[in-house]
């Protein structure tokens, strides 16, 4: 099919899709309306289980099983990237050359690194109380480590980031989530039911039963997964070269 005919087909199909979507939008409940039956019930359930951040309660208590699936998707995607971006037979690893970094960039990166790392860990630890949680904090903590690459060079980053350890950490965190889910089963409760621990005092770090523990497991999983992912992409960009010397 020539590009012109294809474009016409796209415009025709797109116009039809746009019309259908617009018609569907007009039949949706009014924007900003007060009728949210699931939301009201989720808020009520979160409050009875002493979890201040309702979204953390939805993710790690009411829909903990779905979060396990989400974690499995993340794990499988990282595995896929590791397999896809491995070193091929006709490639070799070159030692990355030490790079010059402008002094202000180096200073800023080295000051910002610990701050960003602690911020990430804070966001993970307070997931059940304030906005944030394992997913968000994990990404912040993982990217904080990479300020080392900006502030120094690739060899320095590799020293503070042993990829094998993070790969093991990724798998360990995923199994911790499963074990926490199974922990209540011998006592006769359902898989991942939040009945293992006391709910604690509302708005305190230890509140919410198993929510902080599952949240921490996800935080570790996401941080390790992002580090491993970025390591694979950076390897492609910095270290792996084709044999022909391209």
């Amino acid at each position: 099919m020539n590009p012109r005919a294809r474009l016409w087909l796209v415009v025709l199909g797109g116009a039809g899709l746009a019309a259908l979507l617009a018609a569907a939008c007009l039949r949706l409940p009014r924007f900003g309306g007060g009728h949210h039956p699931y939301g009201d019930r989720a808020v009520h359930a979160a409050l009875t289980r002493h979890t201040a951040n309702t979204i953390a309660s939805v993710n790690f208590d009411q829909r903990a099983f779905d979060t396990m699936g989400e974690m499995a998707i993340l794990f499988a995607a990282v595995l896929g990237c590791v397999v896809l971006l491995r070193q091929a037979r006709d490639e070799h690893r070159a030692r990355p050359r030490p790079a010059e970094v402008a002094p202000p960039v180096r200073r800023y990166a080295l000051v910002a690194l610990p701050v960003a790392l602690v911020t990430g860990l804070y966001v993970i630890a307070h997931g059940q109380l304030s906005p944030g949680g394992g997913f968000q904090g994990g990404v912040v903590a993982a990217t904080a480590v990479h300020l080392m690459y900006l502030g120094a060079d690739y060899a320095a980053l590799e020293r503070v980031r042993p990829v094998e350890a993070f790969e093991a950490g990724d798998a360990l965190a995923a199994s911790v989530y499963l074990v926490l889910g199974l922990a209540g089963v011998p006592a006769g409760t359902a898989f991942l039911a939040n009945t293992l621990l006391p709910y604690g005092t509302f708005d305190k770090l230890s509140s919410g039963g198993t929510v902080p523990l599952l949240n921490a497991a996800i935080g570790m999983e996401v941080a390790c997964a992002v580090v491993v992912l970025l390591a694979r992409f950076l390897d492609q960009a910095v270290e792996i070269e084709e044999e022909s010397g391209k």
Binding site: V10, T67, L85
Partner: protein, 115 residues
């Protein structure tokens, strides 16, 4: 205009689809897919909004003192973002390999290579 947020979600989705269909570069196509996914974030958050409501986090507000937006769709949006990011990473890894094996990231040229 109480349908405007929904229409914006539909608009962003259609724009992303247009980019996907006319893309001449696989990296650009992955970006367009991310735009399509952004439409679902807008739609989910728009469905969950409530007039005059605040975030469903009770660490600094008294429960019941103010209306809160729907936390279920916010949690779904979080899931959506995580899945979107992993899909993007996987697709970009595929593009890296395609570029290495075939020396091009133009979908039309790749089709010609297949014959």
């Amino acid at each position: 205009m109480h349908v405007l947020p929904y229409l914006i979600a539909a608009y962003v989705f259609v724009i992303g689809c247009y980019g996907l269909a006319t893309s001449r570069n696989l990296i650009h196509a992955v970006g367009c897919l991310a735009v399509c996914q952004c439409a679902t974030y807008i739609l989910l958050l728009a469905v969950g909004y409530r007039d005059g409501a605040t975030a469903p986090v009770f660490s600094d507000i008294q429960p019941g003192s103010r209306p809160v937006v729907d936390p279920v769709v916010q949690a779904l949006t979080l899931t959506d973002i995580v899945v979107g990011a992993t899909v993007t990473a996987l697709l970009l890894a595929l593009v890296v390999q395609i570029s290495k094996r075939h020396g091009t990231v133009d979908p039309d040229e790749l089709r010609e290579l297949r014959g």
